[in-house]
Symmetry: C2
Subunit: 120 residues, 2 copies
């Protein structure tokens, strides 16, 4: 069996997983799954994200062809972000991951407590 995550030319699983696994992409994708959003909406909706990271995250997602950026050159400018068709398919996965996290965070918290007690 070929090692998983092998760094050869055909399998750049790592590349894609790294992007999905960064700190903010999952949350951004999930939000855009609910429809297009403006830059400021995203910033308000995502607790704790800095301007810098929101921009970097959106640029990466755009670069990967998952998000589309639309500028309306009014004054002040308006920029909307929306999922591309492929982005939609990823947002489905991502939403289901978030649902898992919500459904099991209590179990995880309890497990951690027990583990920490037993190993201390």
């Amino acid at each position: 069996m070929r090692p998983i995550g092998a760094a050869d030319a055909t399998c750049q699983l790592r590349d894609v997983l790294d992007r999905v696994g960064d700190k903010w992409s999952v949350l951004v994708m999930a939000l855009l799954g609910g429809g297009p959003r403006r830059y400021s909406e995203l910033q308000r909706s995502i607790e704790g994200i800095s301007q810098r990271m929101l921009t970097l995250t959106l640029r990466s997602l755009e670069r990967d062809g998952l998000v589309e950026r639309t500028v309306t050159p009014t004054s002040p400018p308006r920029v909307d972000y929306a999922l591309t068709p492929v982005g939609e398919t990823l947002s489905v996965e991502v939403s289901s991951l978030i649902r898992w996290a919500e459904e099991h965070r209590e179990y995880v918290a309890t497990s951690r407590l027990r583990y920490d007690v037993q190993t201390s």
Copy 2:
């Protein structure tokens, strides 16, 4: 609408997503989804993981109640790792994420090329 990822006591989405989003957990979970594995099997199967990170990843997953560790005190010792029932449910999500990555890595690669060309 309450911000997603809010850091209050009831919503520790961040906590769980951080664990899932680290560099190796996803791959470990996916492998264990195929059944119990020995420490050395995991190390061989995951391209590029260091001993340190494999151990840390397994400890975290165990702490979260997602993986169970079984020591057989032979000489040399044998240690098997298996998913817990809740771990199984996560490994399903994770496998489906990996499948997405495999199915779309070509699209992502192409998108990146185009983006880099256009913005250079």
